[in-house]
Subunit: 193 residues, 4 copies
DNA sequence: TATGAATGAGGGTTCATTCAT
DNA sequence: CATGAATGAACCCTCATTCAT
């Protein structure tokens, strides 16, 4: 009976859950694995989390908050909106690349309804950041007058789609630079005088 | 003991599997449900499919092919590349909207490795279509000289991300027109004379 | 995989459940024991009964009906009400004696609320039989004009209390004759002229 | 670390156990509940009671003794045996009504063998009281010469059965008066001259 | 080709009990 | 005297798969 502080144990469990859910997915992961990986007994898991779902949801929430904080921070102080977009995308993709497991855990369970509200909130926040950048770009005259909400949705979708490629097909050859380039300049040729 | 042709039975099972997997997801769906929904016995399922995984994979393959055919067909005969992009996106999103279940079934199981090769092939085909359009656009002088592969990836990612929004958050308010607009013209203001 | 008819299996399970619940009580009995005793697999239990509670309740219902039928039958054709009371009591107690397990299974679970409605119905029926006898006795002038419902309750309570003694304290020395005697004649001395 | 005297703590635990066992029954009640209700730690429980069974048995013993004392006291000084019977029944039923939980706790666990000896002793004492009353009644010429032991058993059974009705079916409409009436006078019509 | 009763390993969860503090 | 984190065996139940019919 190894005595540890409650916080210490909770952290160990969350870390173990991260490892196990990442490797096996929610459905195939089982509480015994997580307990073993956390160096705790099965019963111990239930001291800190109501059940498997609670454990997974708590994990997702905590990791999502970390993720959101890190990405938001990255664009806060950049004045050039084009550069901000650039960096936001790059940060996102790189972060995703380094934390594939995170996205894996968020994967669909129960037809995606699992932790839906939490995800919506997170996604909403991310979109908000992009909207802010676009708005500043328009106000500064750098960007043309697009529909801010829609444009943000599109950019957010690119990121989301890219992340899926990284996670699902392990396509690590994405190019943030080319991506920004397309978003900023579009496909059409300019000054076709 | 309902006598039916093998093909008929197989089709009935696949349709039932579609319904059940869509509603419950792979993990929660069980063979009894599928059998009942198909109006066949549990044992009968195993006459046509080796096991649950085989059934699901076969289903995904068949539906993906249908999906690919329908979307590709839609852009074949459009000469204006900008319009082709436009239509390709619209078709994709609308198709996704009408066939949410399809994407649900493709959701991650076993850490996304489930049917991975099949998916890669499908995604590759889709990206190929976009590449074709862009190439024609560049050759025609309509599009500027972008990195074709990367641009196709970006556009494909947008679609993928949008589909996720539709399926996961039931965000049906996407605007294909605004999306195409951004892709075609980009964010930056032009002719800054 | 021993094939048996569904009805045969169900019966085997109910008999096994009777044995196990009787010996261990509801809480201590476990499904594995019942399965083993029935010569069936654990999963097999769940083909016929939704869960442990359903199995126990079904068992109680079936055994109660048998019990009720047998006891009621016994008094149907007896014309002398005093004799009918006599026999009803005797039959009840003897039946209880021979089927201790039955009452054991009915024992309190979940604060007696377990199968409460079923029990109430059964008890109501039993009380009804006694009421019928008393009524006939009064109409025939054999019995004095007592409150029929209350008197039936009292007699039913005697039986119930006696059965408890038999089951709990294994007091098999009850005397149905003395019991009837008291009920029929009462304690008070008569004709105290 | 609340400092309390041992006796105080023990009493608090017993009271909590009463509440919890009454509400949930022995099997569903758990030590955590009792500890919480007693305002003590789980480990603290084991300072005063060897284990769950010991706690429950101790509780039953203590409450039974209280119960026995109160009921016995009630008939001690009544000279008319008919009235004593009357009052003994009434007291018993009313007491049961006010202390349903007590009987609930005594409910069967482990096939009634739980605390059996203790119960037998308690029941024996109660029957003894009734025997005493009947004996005095016979000696006084008020009662006819019945088999004292058997008559006491019958009366005790009535009470027991009635209590079951109260506890199990929540039948609070019992009538002690009618009950005594039947016991005293019996069913048969008298002076059929 | 078709059935569906049967299997049994393995899942999530509970809880009496212990013991380092 | 008192705590409460930790244990782990054992519970109920599920379900992919098999096979005698």
């Amino acid at each position: 009976m190894n005595k540890r502080s409650g916080i210490e144990s909770k952290k160990r469990i969350l870390d173990a859950a991260m490892r196990i859910f990442s490797e096996y997915g929610y459905a195939k992961a089982n509480m015994r694995m997580i307990a073993k990986s956390a160096g705790i007994s099965i019963g111990g898991l239930y001291l800190y989390f109501k059940n498997k779902e609670d454990l997974c949801l708590t994990l997702m929430k905590s990791r999502m908050n970390d993720f959101a904080d890190k990405t938001m921070e990255a664009v806060r102080d950049i004045s050039d909106p084009a550069e901000a977009i650039d960096i936001f995308i790059e940060m996102n993709l790189n972060y995703a690349k380094r934390h594939k497991e995170l996205i894996l855990v968020q994967g669909r369970e129960h037809g995606f309804t699992f932790g839906l509200e939490m995800k919506k909130k997170f996604f909403g926040k991310q979109r908000g950041v992009i909207e802010g950048i676009i708005l500043r770009g328009i106000q500064a005259g750098t960007f043309r007058k697009v529909n801010v909400k829609e444009a943000a949705k599109v950019i957010f979708s690119i990121i989301r789609g890219f992340i899926l490629s990284i996670v699902v097909e392990a396509d690590s050859l994405f190019s943030p630079a080319e991506c920004s380039d397309l978003i900023l300049k579009g496909l059409l040729r300019r000054n076709v005088k």
